[in-house]
């Protein structure tokens, strides 16, 4: 597969996942804000930290401006925010256009429709009047595309690259959301505020993990249990361990471990080590003070390194 094209596939997957994840986080945070007992800042600052946009936002609007409408506007529409939903969808579509000959017509039509909808007044009107439906449409359109990718494309290298990008992005999103929320929640606990389990529930919902978690934990909700679930659960498709392991599967198809003559060995080795390292983690270990943050930081740093290796070895970056 042509290196440049592999790069486009990789980013197509990443942008799709990023747009969906942002829409999900915003939906859940809106719901959380309605439950009360939290200041707007306590609700919305984590959204900005998760996407890495806190410094930009604070510089632009100031700390007093961390409130629901403005954060949603910024995270959904802002042109200068590289991870806003609008920019992510435009990014996905731009990459799709550059690999138009690889993706199926169904995938192309759907990403194109979503992009066109976001650019015209329809999406704005929906956003202004039916906010929940707006985010739902973004999420569901992307889920449809993910289904179409699997259901209508050849299951070979281009799809492996799309999925590889998507899984790395997803493991990063879960890691960041959990890290930020975990930190905020602990802060609230230490200042002796009444901690509602609703914080943990909203975190699970942000990762589509509420029902799967309940099936595993049989109704007992605790911070440690939620963190262990989102990091370690091997059968939950958004847990860090699941995503890293699946990303390793995708990369192993792209660059078989035994094919020593092919480029990509460094990235594969690093991902393999990360996967083994995650498998060695236990819920008991994660319960130690600071352990969750440490593990998540390591995951985010390592995936960053792996992306760099892949760019050099497979996409031909110098």
């Amino acid at each position: 597969m042509i290196s440049r094209v592999a790069d486009y596939c990789f980013w197509f997957g990443r942008y799709l996942e990023r747009a969906e994840s942002t829409a999900r986080v915003l939906t859940v945070t809106r719901a959380l804000a309605l439950d009360g007992n939290l200041t707007p800042e306590q609700c919305w600052l984590p959204v900005l930290i998760t996407s890495g946009n806190e410094p930009v936002y604070l510089e632009k609007y100031g700390k007093e401006a961390v409130e629901d409408e403005r954060v949603q506007e910024f995270s959904t529409w802002e042109e200068t925010n590289l991870s806003s939903i609008r920019r992510s969808i435009a990014g996905a579509r731009e990459n799709a256009r550059s690999i138009r000959e690889l993706i199926s017509l169904e995938v192309w039509v759907n990403i194109n429709e979503l992009h066109n909808w976001m650019r015209h007044s329809g999406a704005r009107t929906e956003y202004n009047h039916h906010r929940y439906d707006f985010y739902r449409r973004v999420r569901e359109s992307i889920q449809l595309i993910l289904g179409l990718l699997r259901g209508t494309m050849l299951h070979d290298t281009p799809l492996d690259f799309i999925w590889f990008g998507l899984l790395l992005e997803r493991s990063n999103q879960t890691a960041r959301i959990l890290d930020v929320q975990h930190h905020m929640t602990n802060m609230l606990v230490s200042t002796h505020q009444v901690l509602d389990t609703s914080l943990w529930l909203s975190l699970l919902r942000a990762c589509s993990g509420f029902e799967p978690f309940m099936k595993r934990s049989r109704g007992r909700v605790s911070g440690d249990a939620v963190a262990a679930f989102l990091i370690l659960e091997p059968h939950f498709p958004r847990s860090v361990t699941y995503c890293v392991h699946s990303a390793l599967d995708s990369l192993s198809k792209i660059r078989p471990p035994a094919a020593h003559e092919l480029p990509g060995g460094r990235a594969l080795e690093r991902l393999h080590v990360l996967d083994s390292w995650l498998k060695a983690q236990t819920p008991q270990g994660l319960a130690a003070p600071g352990a969750v943050h440490e593990v998540l930081t390591h995951v985010v740093d390592e995936t960053q390194q792996i992306c760099g290796d892949v760019a050099q070895e497979l996409f031909g970056y110098s």
Partner: protein, 484 residues
């Protein structure tokens, strides 16, 4: 009530479907009946459906004037252009003959130059053409084919005679719109298409893929064929990716390719891979900075050396521009007589060469009646439409012609034929002017003309300009099946 009840052809213009008395031409009675059976409301509905489908599928072209590289859909008219089986048979034979002669001309010019030695075409005209590439003298293209894809632009005069207006032998574009238009027609007018007995065109990509593989310097079955595009900001990017997809081959950009020891390779995630055939949709002056433009960052260094060594086929071959030069065009009938010893089947348009003293005098005296064209421009640019021009514009062109006579030709303005066209804002059917660009694919084994081609339509009332950059649209082109 027929959709065409109010339809009135223009005076002194050939209408494709109706006679001057607004009666259907005998060969199209059946087609007019099935096409006319829908109401205006249905036609408007179908037109809307088609536009929505084109937009959602991203069937777009980029607009250069807008530096953000924004995309527009190519306007599409739901009413097709129809060609009778008899007319098509004539065109098919004429196009075969013309492309064959043009190919032989190129072989000759980059070979012995027999036609120049025998003074059948002025040597200075050919050797002075901007797109003549002397460095290719003696280079034989792999597979012996130079014009893998030709697009020949035709118009129809008031008597109904098809005339060649120009040849496109470098990187003719538009075929993706032809194929997409047919898909849209199948979706919005399935019954009508079925009943009108139209020849299929959807095997074009297969024919093209076969032709490309056939000229490979290696075994065609194990050859690597790619489409080379300037990138997603090029106005024809949709077509490049469309053809790659339809042929199931890879779309590459110049930085993906490199030359090592006279062989061309593509950079892949599994290391370099040899490339044998390149369907290049880039301008040849951007092919190789080593040869054409040292300042250019575009292109693949060394690719021309590889081509000259016979290690890679470039389709279309570099150097073809000398044959589709507008000043060479008047001599194509002479080429046909010279190489094929037969009379040209297709007519062309009377053309004046400003480099010839007698012609130039005539042109300068009749600027107000003629269409003046720069020989190396396309897309409707660099033109003077005499009858619609102002005195200042004519003066401007007079200066240009006197400064660079070789660069200009002039032709009498031909009344383009019209065909019934859906006018959305009035919700009526009116005559609009059209042209036709058939596509001819040539492999090592011979040529094939796709039945139909791109019909472009001047959507603006009274306009003669069909270019998409200037208010033109397109129609599906239906060639009737011969009666068996």
């Amino acid at each position: 009530v027929s959709l065409f009840q109010q339809y009135r052809p223009l005076r002194d213009t050939y209408d494709e479907l109706f006679t001057g008395e607004a009666r259907p031409r005998p060969e199209f009675e059946h087609t007019v009946e099935v096409l006319g059976a829908s109401t205006s409301a249905e036609c408007a509905f179908n037109q809307g459906l088609a536009e929505k489908a084109l937009f959602n599928q991203g069937v777009t072209f980029s607009v250069y004037s807008d530096n953000r590289g924004s995309e527009k859909i190519f306007p599409y008219c739901v009413l097709p252009r129809v060609i009778s089986a008899k007319d098509w048979d004539h065109l098919d034979r004429g196009l075969h003959q013309r492309v064959r002669a043009l190919g032989m001309f190129l072989d000759d010019i980059y070979g012995d130059q027999r036609i120049l030695k025998e003074k059948r075409i002025p040597a200075d005209l050919v050797l002075g053409a901007k797109n003549y590439l002397p460095l290719l003298n003696g280079v034989k293209p792999p597979g012996g084919v130079r014009i893998h894809v030709a697009g020949i632009d035709l118009i129809r005069d008031p008597q109904g005679t098809f005339r060649v207006l120009e040849d496109n032998l470098r990187t003719p574009s538009g075929v993706s719109y032809v194929l997409e238009n047919r898909l849209i027609t199948k979706r919005v007018l399935p019954r009508v298409l079925d009943r009108a007995r139209v020849q299929p065109i959807d095997h074009y990509p297969t024919r093209l893929a076969e032709a490309l593989a056939s000229v490979s310097p290696a075994d065609p079955a194990s050859s690597s064929v790619v489409v080379l595009t300037p990138g997603s900001y090029n106005s024809a990017y949709f077509e490049h990716s469309y053809l790659a997809r339809q042929m199931g081959i890879e779309l590459v950009e110049a930085p993906d390719l490199f030359v090592d020891g006279d062989e061309v390779f593509v950079r892949t995630t599994r290391g370099p891979r040899r490339v044998h055939v390149i369907y290049r949709r880039t301008d040849e002056t951007f092919l190789d900075p080593e040869v054409f433009r040292p300042d250019s960052l575009l292109g693949v260094r060394g690719i021309m050396k590889s081509y000259a060594a016979g290690k890679v086929a470039l389709c279309n071959a570099p150097g073809n521009g000398v044959a589709d030069d507008k000043a060479i065009y008047p001599f194509v009938p002479e080429m046909i007589r010279f190489y094929l010893s037969s009379e040209p089947i297709l007519e062309q348009v009377e053309t004046f060469l400003c480099m010839r003293d007698d012609h130039r005098r005539y042109v300068l005296e009749h600027l107000g009646d003629l269409v003046v064209k720069a020989v190396d421009e396309a897309g409707g640019y660099g033109m003077l439409m005499g009858p619609q021009s102002t005195a200042a514009e004519r003066d401007d062109f007079k200066k240009k012609i006197l400064a660079e006579p070789r660069r200009y030709i002039a032709q009498g303005r031909v009344e383009l034929s019209t065909t019934p066209t859906w006018i959305g804002d009035k919700e009526v059917v009116e005559p609009r002017r059209i042209d036709l660009r058939p596509y001819i694919v040539t492999s090592r084994q011979g040529s094939w003309v796709m039945p139909g081609g791109l019909t472009r339509v001047a959507l603006v009332e009274g306009s003669y300009v069909v270019n998409s950059s200037q208010g033109g649209g397109s129609k599906d082109t239906w060639v009737q099946k011969a009666r068996s």
